[in-house]
């Protein structure tokens, strides 16, 4: 029998990996498949976390934390609501950028939205308790099992199931005719438009689907950690997702799974066991330096990632032919 402390640790790792993967699949659908450089992806993640928190905390009471609204809804309603809110917010961002702006300007607008949304939430304390964030968020199905170890494994099951479901949805989309249209939008919006594809609508669609995945991931993270604050959805969070995705290989699920295992999860866990050197905050600062350097290295050495996306070409007969490796797109 594995000691309890280790069980806790392993369960935590699996849950964090699974919930991160949910969001990463959503982001990969937007970036890797459709070519939207969504620097604002942390916004639906953040909204999802707050939605789940507000729908489980109950009405605001006492001076401990202030928020404008609260309900006590049973599982799984908060998660569904979080996915819906994530999709809605992401759709709103999509309406600003989709089809109107060239990709790099889309990225800049989304980046600006992300930065300012964080700052507003930090300053306007009455909405969701400002920079301190919401704490004591109830966990789903907590009364279902007695021991906390059993609950850990229950959450592992939930997280892995939802991650698998997200993978399935994204996988089906990217293999369907819709996926081919999305890749066409990514590779050349002009050509896609000339062939009669509605670029704006396709971009809006993946903004909504990706946003739902982000919202769900935020909700599951918030309820697992029982807290949610602006630090949980900084622009930096989006950046680590991007680093993981391009390291693994944008545009394919295996690449994303590998990249996410390496960067947000593996890297953080590997450095967790370092002796605490220097002043508080030194290790964290150095971690960001290394992550930034890693992103540059990937762009420099292997822009297609560890597991490059397979290129599919269609013969006149309709038969698909797969090629490993593609031109260095990043």
């Amino acid at each position: 029998m594995i000691p309890e402390a280790w069980q806790f640790y392993i369960a935590t790792l699996i849950v964090l990996y699974a919930v991160t993967l949910i969001a990463a699949f959503g982001l990969n659908l937007q970036y890797g498949v459709t070519g939207i450089l969504n620097f604002g992806y942390a916004v639906p993640i953040g909204v999802g976390g707050y939605t789940a928190a507000l729908l489980t905390l109950g009405p605001p009471q006492g001076r401990f934390q202030t928020y404008w609204f609260g309900l006590e809804l049973p599982f799984p309603l908060p998660w569904l609501a979080a996915a819906a809110m994530g999709a809605l917010v992401s759709l709103a961002l999509g309406f600003i950028v989709a089809g109107r702006l060239r990709g790099d300007y889309q990225a800049i607008v989304l980046l600006a939205v992300s930065v300012i949304a964080t700052r507003l939430v930090q300053v306007q304390k009455e909405i969701v308790n400002g920079g301190a964030g919401l704490a004591n968020v109830p966990q789903p199905l907590r009364d279902f099992v007695d021991s906390s170890i059993a609950y850990q494994w229950l959450y592992v099951g939930l997280a892995v199931a939802v991650a698998g479901g997200t993978w399935f949805v994204v996988h089906r989309i990217s293999r369907a005719p819709l996926g081919r249209a999305l890749r066409a939008v990514r590779d050349s919006p002009e050509v896609a438009a000339a062939l009669g594809k509605d670029v704006a609508r396709l971009q809006l669609l993946v903004m909504a689907i990706g946003g739902a995945a982000g919202g769900l991931s935020g909700a599951m993270t918030a309820q697992y950690l029982t807290g949610w604050n602006p630090e949980s959805w900084l622009l930096l969070v989006t950046f680590t997702y991007f680093t993981g995705i391009i390291l693994g290989g944008a545009g394919n699920a295996l690449g994303v799974a590998v990249g996410i295992a390496l960067i947000p999860i593996g890297f953080r866990e590997a450095t967790r066991f370092l002796p605490a050197i220097g002043y508080p905050g030194l290790i964290e600062a150095l971690q960001w330096v290394v992550i930034g350097l890693l992103a540059l290295l990937v762009l420099w050495l292997r822009p297609a990632g560890i597991v490059p996306e397979r290129v599919v070409a269609y013969e006149p007969t309709g038969r698909a032919r797969w090629h490993i490796g593609r031109r260095g797109r990043s």
Binding site: I108, Q124, A193, G292
Partner: protein, 298 residues
């Protein structure tokens, strides 16, 4: 109410001088290399901390540190461009890849500095001030000197761009790099000079920004990035004079908003301007028929 608004013009002018330096620098980098440099604010920070180092440990007057800070920022910009951004571009890195690269650089510079100076708040040892009151404005002598320095720096840029061969070469590289090279313009040298100048401007902006606040930390200048982006877009990306005009508009209006509502609405205003301009008039306020089309999607 009216008094607050009038008094905010003075603060607005301080913001205008910082913002115009930074936005002209940012837009100049884009015009000669096509790179939207998200690490620009962090180069400003490095310059501001160079000035802090000279000011705090060597006891140099803040005015004497400005040229050093400018040169350091200029050199860092040239090195970043030459050693990292240009090679990446030559390797065929896409526009998205370049944005991720500059964001990564920004993280490296910011956290590298943070690891060295440690988290905390810093301030300059500023010379004693005389307070001037005129036309409903309250400004200190230091603030007036910074405005004068900004005006001087921008005037120099104007003269370089319009009156010198170098400026002509820069405009040629901006308009068509291949044609410029084919015409015998040493485009690498021209690009280096342009990045040095823009880094220099950013450096002065960094010192001016930090000096305008009671205290600063390693992320202070990063907070200005969205406002810089909004200014550059309003001015028409790559247009130096547009950026200048946009800095006046955004600097003054944002201080008025901050005075009337709360400081955080300044950033919201910048965001709204950014979005509004891109949706309605993507070429910015410059009168340029061709410029805007590149911003819009197909």
């Amino acid at each position: 109410m009216l008094e607050i608004l009038i008094a905010s013009i003075g603060f607005g002018l301080i913001t205008v001088s910082i913002l115009s330096l930074a936005s002209v620098g940012f837009t100049l980098q884009f015009s000669v290399t096509g790179v939207l440099n998200l690490a620009f604010a962090d180069v400003m920070t490095l310059a501001g901390f160079t000035a802090w180092l000279l000011n705090d440990s060597l006891g140099l007057s803040i005015w004497a540190t400005i040229p050093f800070a400018g040169i350091v920022a200029g050199l860092i910009s040239v090195v970043l461009n030459r050693a990292i951004l240009q090679p990446l571009l030559r390797r065929g890195t896409s526009v998205f890849g370049m944005l991720i690269a500059t964001l990564a650089l920004s993280l490296v510079l910011w956290n590298g500095l943070l690891a060295i100076v440690r988290p905390g708040f810093f301030f300059y040892d500023m010379p004693p001030v005389t307070v001037y009151r005129f036309l409903g404005q309250i400004l200190t002598s230091n603030q007036l000197i910074f405005m004068g320095l900004a005006a001087l720096a921008l005037l120099s840029v104007h003269l370089i761009l319009r009156r010198s061969k170098l400026g002509k070469a820069m405009r040629a590289v901006a308009a068509n790099p291949d044609l410029a090279r084919a015409s015998g313009i040493p485009s690498r040298l021209v690009v280096d000079t342009a990045w040095f100048i823009s880094g220099f401007l950013g450096g002065i902006a960094g010192v001016a920004l930090f000096a305008s606040l009671p205290a600063f930390d390693t992320s202070t200048a990063r907070g200005l990035l969205v406002v810089i982006l909004a200014t550059v877009v309003l001015g028409g990306v790559g247009h130096v004079y547009g950026a200048l005009a946009a800095a006046v508009v955004i600097g003054l209006s944002s201080e008025m908003v901050a005075a009337l509502a709360a400081p955080q609405w300044r950033d919201v205003l910048a965001l709204l301007i950014l979005i509004g301009v891109l949706m309605i008039r993507p070429q910015g306020i410059v009168r340029d028929v061709s410029g805007g089309r590149e911003v819009a999607a197909a």
